[in-house]
């Protein structure tokens, strides 16, 4: 495929499948050791709603049968795996007959939108700043300002989110505090709705961006320093090429490649960070769904959300691995030489 060696492709695909398989197995296995019985939680919910439940033993037995808890474990496991392949994630116990996949399908676009936006912005800002930190023509003031901003990089986005909420929503009242669009706004493709979404999404995105760009800046700085001393950069300068041209075409172009693999290592943390941001902002994404499910002890939703997020993470890592040889010919050539 597009000149990517087959051994590399197979290797990455196996890792992807194995990741999803192990994660799915863990998600299935862990609750089996738990003393908590989902059928009893269901029943206690019914009891809470209607006072007392008649024939509770019979209902418990029926619920257990419906959940397939009477089958042997191996049958339950195989059924579960088969269901995952068709994205049948079971039925939510909290909002009863709604399938988990429907709930996730409603939440996923919000999460993906926020995520893609913040990741793209962070990647661009972070790498640009990292490159400027090393470039000898950067004004001196920037070399002082950028490292000062770097201080924030280690803070998880939930903390920056709380601080930004306090500053921009509570004190200045510039932006709304929670939600993903206004309470009075009707969802639809008109300007008021889009404006409301942008207004509500700014703070969550900002709280992710201010604390994550530094990861890329730091990585880029290290890579630029190692590229800086290379002979081809000196040659390019000696040839009298324009400094900006040398910066983009010779230095950044070569330094940025390992940053793309760094993305694969970082995405798990980014996803977890965003889930927590969504939870504190009450943003309609996977994070809020997960938090509500934890409050309601809705295992099907907890498992479903975890599975889908891990699947997404593994898939984006797989995609990065596929794209990488296309932009870095060295991988392609060395693998071909080895094969």
């Amino acid at each position: 495929m597009l000149g990517i060696p087959r051994s590399y492709l197979i290797n990455r695909a196996v890792t992807f499948v194995l990741t999803v398989f192990i994660a799915a197995t863990l998600i299935w296995l862990i609750p089996r050791f738990s003393p908590v019985d989902p059928a009893e939680i269901m029943l206690s919910r019914m009891a809470a709603g209607g006072g007392a439940v008649a024939d509770s033993e019979a209902i418990l037995a029926q619920l257990r049968a419906d959940f397939g808890l009477n089958d042997p474990l191996i049958v339950q496991y195989l059924k579960y795996m088969g269901n995952l392949l068709t994205f049948n994630l079971g039925i939510s116990t909290a909002s009863f007959p709604t399938p988990v996949s429907v709930l996730i399908a409603q939440a996923l676009p919000w999460t993906l939108g926020l995520m893609i936006l913040s990741v793209v912005i962070t990647f661009l800002i972070g790498n640009a700043l990292g490159a400027f930190m090393v470039w000898e023509r950067t004004p001196r003031i920037w070399k002082v300002v950028i490292p000062t901003f770097m201080i924030f990089t280690s803070i998880p986005p939930i903390l920056s989110g709380l601080l930004l909420m306090y500053i921009f929503s509570i004190t200045l009242r510039w932006l709304p505090l929670t939600g993903s669009y206004g309470l009075t706004v009707e969802p639809g493709w008109d300007w008021t709705f889009v404006a409301s979404v942008i207004e509500h999404g700014t703070l969550p995105a900002l709280s992710i961006i201010v604390v994550t760009f530094g990861f890329w800046t730091l990585g880029m700085r290290g890579l630029m320093i190692s590229v800086q001393g290379e002979d081809y950069v000196n040659l390019a300068k000696a040839k009298g090429l324009k400094p900006r041209y040398v910066l983009y075409k010779y230095m950044v172009r070569n330094a940025i490649l390992p940053q793309i693999t760094a993305f694969a290592l970082k995405i798990g943390l980014l996803v977890s960070g965003q889930i927590l941001v969504e939870r504190i902002f009450g943003y309609n994404g996977m994070g809020k769904l997960l938090y509500d499910a934890i409050l309601d002890q809705d295992f099907a939703v907890i498992q479903g959300v975890s599975y889908i997020i891990i699947l997404m993470t593994a898939f984006s890592v797989f995609l990065v691995d596929l794209i990488y040889p296309l932009i870095d010919p060295r991988i392609r050539l060395s693998e071909e030489a080895a094969a």
Partner: protein, 310 residues
């Protein structure tokens, strides 16, 4: 044209030979490292000394008046802060200072335990993979590749929501299960490159045991990397723990910084303008993370002299 392409080390030696004899010319006396370690030490000492001088029974619900502001501030009900509870009290009648004194060491402890366990596993697996090679290497490499993609938070959410309350140590152990991958990869890569170096081959030729080569010859050279990886892992472990706590999981009855933030958010502390309730643990955590980052940056400069010039 500036002379940035010159080797910084030779440049320094030529310019100021005196600095060679300066007793502070030691890579470990790195300002970032010292600042980071200093801040962290202050936070840890605060936890230790605080327990001696402050009444820690004030962490129990209802032991103080509700929602008092810190000393010198006024809350929405026009109550002023009192010296008895200098950092204010929360909505359940707990003293903020006592909660921070008890909660901060707990949070740090989760990070440290998880990271130490993860590190030990990583050292063991990384050396095994790099040194033994073959099938062992393949297994460990694939397993760490796979496990590094899975976000720990989500598996732990499944675990803790199924099991309910966990203890601090249990939480640390659970997080440790996701802390071995990056040290494993790091050490494996270093061991592979070191294996070909002269001194290791020399040791092999002189009949040293594998154990001796691994732990006496190679390990000392890895120490800056190991420290760096350890600190990075402490940060990740604390972030994960705080994340779980903010989702309402984790230890339910033991105060941790994440738990305080969870209670504050859930009681609407933001809207009621009770900034000290969520703000103090947030600032303390942020300071902690900044200190850890400074230590890590300092360690990077210790192990990679090329970074020092900027």
């Amino acid at each position: 044209m500036t002379d940035t392409t010159d080797n910084p080390q030779t440049g320094e030696a030529n310019a100021a030979p005196v600095s060679r004899f300066n007793r502070f010319d030691n890579p470990w006396f790195n300002p970032k490292l010292l600042w980071g370690a200093g801040i962290l030490l202050v936070i840890i000492l605060g936890g230790i000394i605080g327990r001696m001088v402050w009444d820690t029974d004030l962490v129990f619900t209802g032991s103080t008046p509700l929602k008092l502001p810190p000393l010198g501030f006024e809350n929405l009900r026009r109550q002023e802060g009192v010296a008895e509870f200098p950092l204010g009290t929360d909505g359940a009648g707990r003293d903020m200072l006592a909660m921070l004194i008890i909660g901060t060491p707990n949070t740090l402890m989760i990070g440290a335990i998880a990271s130490i366990i993860g590190m030990s596993l990583g050292i063991f697996l990384g050396f095994s993979a790099g040194f033994v090679g073959g099938r062992v290497d393949d297994t460990i490499r694939v397993l760490s590749d796979v496990m590094i993609t899975i976000p720990p938070l989500l598996i732990l959410v499944v675990f803790q929501s199924a099991f309910g309350d966990v203890s601090l140590v249990m939480m640390a152990f659970l997080i440790a299960g996701f802390m071995w991958q990056s040290p494993t990869r790091l050490i494996r890569a270093q061991v592979l490159s070191m294996k070909r170096s002269g001194y290791v081959q020399m040791a092999q030729l002189s009949g040293a045991s594998t154990f001796h080569i691994m732990f006496k010859e190679m390990l000392p050279n890895l120490i800056p990397y190991l420290f760096g990886s350890f600190i990075a892992n402490v940060t990740t472990a604390i972030v994960t723990a705080v994340g779980l706590e903010v989702l309402g999981l984790g230890p339910q009855r033991i105060p941790t910084l994440g738990r305080v933030i969870y209670d504050a958010i859930n009681s609407g502390a933001l809207i009621q303008n009770l900034w000290w309730w969520w703000g103090l643990p947030t600032m303390l955590l942020a300071t902690m993370f900044i200190a850890l980052l400074l230590i890590n940056l300092g360690l990077d400069e210790v192990s990679n002299p090329r970074l020092r010039k900027i």
